[in-house]
């Protein structure tokens, strides 16, 4: 699949995003318009990022009802604080997903603290066919890239990074789960991300 997709796009054209992939500059432009109170721009930004925001939160929380609630908080927070986005500190996409991920993790920790986590697994495991269709056209290239780069990590690097990011575990919990020393886990998280960065960076330019 990947080879075919790559072959369709000559190298010298790779900087031009194809219509299905997300053009990162658009998120930045839309966010700047949102900062000026442009509700229509927010609607377009919603359409661009909400499947990933909701998908990420749902992946971390597992529970669709809670994911919906937290996703709404995050998206309203993006609207509320858009003017505080500082392009000098990173991309608009990273800014939005930092808010989303932190909110999801905060919710996980709050639940652990209150120790009354209810499992609603039955509902959580249902995926609509519509999901798959949209997945197919929109996220395929990026997903494959991320997965391939994750496969390039050592087992410990990959487990440390994914347990933290997708499950919302703290590095202490990750150390417990992997039965690895704390300093090792901290180091693997960092060098795992560095390796991932290098892999994704190379692939973007390839």
């Amino acid at each position: 699949m990947t080879e075919r997709g790559a072959a369709r796009r000559p190298d010298h054209l790779s900087a031009v995003p194809d219509p299905e992939s997300r053009p990162p500059s658009d998120v930045g432009d839309l966010l700047r318009a949102v900062a000026r109170g442009d509700e229509a721009a927010f609607g377009r930004l919603y359409d661009l990022v909400s499947p990933r925001v909701y998908g990420l939160i749902r992946r971390v929380l597992r529970d669709p009802a809670q994911a919906e609630e937290v996703a709404q908080e995050v998206l309203v927070e993006v609207w509320r604080t858009a003017a505080r986005f500082d392009a000098g500190r990173g991309s608009a996409t990273a800014w939005i997903f930092t808010i989303a991920h932190r909110r999801a993790v905060d919710r996980v920790r709050a639940e652990q603290a209150s120790a009354d986590r209810t499992m609603r697994v039955g509902v959580a495991s249902v995926d609509t066919p519509y999901d798959e269709v949209v997945d197919e056209v929109s996220g395929r290239l990026e997903r494959q890239q991320v997965r391939r780069c994750l496969d390039d990590l050592t087992d410990l690097q990959r487990q440390a990074v994914t347990l933290a990011y997708y499950q919302g575990h703290s590095y202490r919990e990750v150390a417990d789960l992997l039965e690895a020393p704390l300093p090792t886990v901290k180091t693997r998280m960092r060098d795992g991300l560095i390796r991932l960065r290098d892999c994704l960076g190379t692939e973007v330019n390839a």
Binding site: S50, G139, V161, S170
Partner: protein
């Protein structure tokens, strides 16, 4: 916690895998470390790419709910709205907000112990307890939001961690400790401050058998070491079995 320790949290921080106090400590470190800022930025961007593989279509009502919610949500102005915005001008306010978030986290962490205290004393004087709890909360917030906050942590022998968040301008620290193992019923954790080669001065004793606490301790800034020891219930005039030392200078 030394600068090296904090720096080692770079990857964990980028993955939101640190606790609230470590987050504050790290963000303070980053504010003064240009190279760290660059690396954190890059690793955050990288972590964000992990969300690429999490597509899931939200229920259609989410869009209408969100659009309705923004219609009644006032937007915040840019930081320092009335003046020329310099790139780094956002940092102090951002850090203050973070400190407030930490205060909330600490208060939540201390909540279970707090509830117990409130229940025990309710019969005696409910209003005084509530007033004291509110004052304590306000004091915690003011210490943690001080611009000169320094956060240091150290492990506890036998498992656990002590974090001391100190503000010289407030003349006090918020100490958060959690030991993995509770002391025996007739033993208690006692807190100490040590200056130079002088004797250890008691900074308070926890109730016997209690393994965790969030305490406001006056006069910690200016000392060299904050220590925790294990003592007979009620405490001792000088420390016997030191289980943790946090170096403050």
């Amino acid at each position: 916690m030394t600068t090296t320790d904090i720096h080692a949290l770079l990857g964990a921080y980028a993955l939101d895998a640190v606790d609230d106090l470590e987050r504050v400590a790290f963000e303070r470190h980053v504010a003064e470390c240009e190279a760290c800022r660059t690396e954190v930025g890059e690793l955050r961007e990288t972590a964000t790419r992990l969300a690429d593989s999490t597509w899931s279509v939200p229920p259609p009502r989410l869009r209408s709910d969100v659009m309705a919610a923004i219609g009644r949500t006032r937007q915040l102005p840019p930081v320092e709205s009335a003046r020329t915005v310099v790139p780094r001008a956002t940092a102090p306010r951002w850090r203050r907000l973070t400190a407030v978030a930490v205060a909330a986290g600490i208060l939540a962490a201390g909540a279970s112990a707090g509830v117990w205290v409130v229940q025990e004393q309710r019969v005696r004087d409910e209003r005084a307890v509530v007033a004291a709890a509110e004052a304590r909360e306000a004091r915690t917030r003011s210490i943690l939001s001080a611009t000169d906050l320094v956060v240091r942590t150290a492990p506890i022998i036998g498992g656990g961690r002590v974090t001391v968040a100190s503000s010289a301008s407030q003349g006090a620290s918020v100490v958060s400790m959690r030991a993995d193992a509770s002391p025996a019923k007739d033993r208690a954790f006692q807190m100490w401050t040590i200056r130079g080669t002088g004797p250890a001065v008691s900074a308070g004793v926890l109730p016997a058998g209690q393994a965790s606490a969030v305490e406001i301790v006056q006069g910690v800034p200016g000392n060299d070491v904050f220590a925790i020891s294990l003592e007979p219930a009620g405490g001792s005039p000088s420390p016997h079995e030191v289980v943790s030392q946090v170096f403050l200078t």
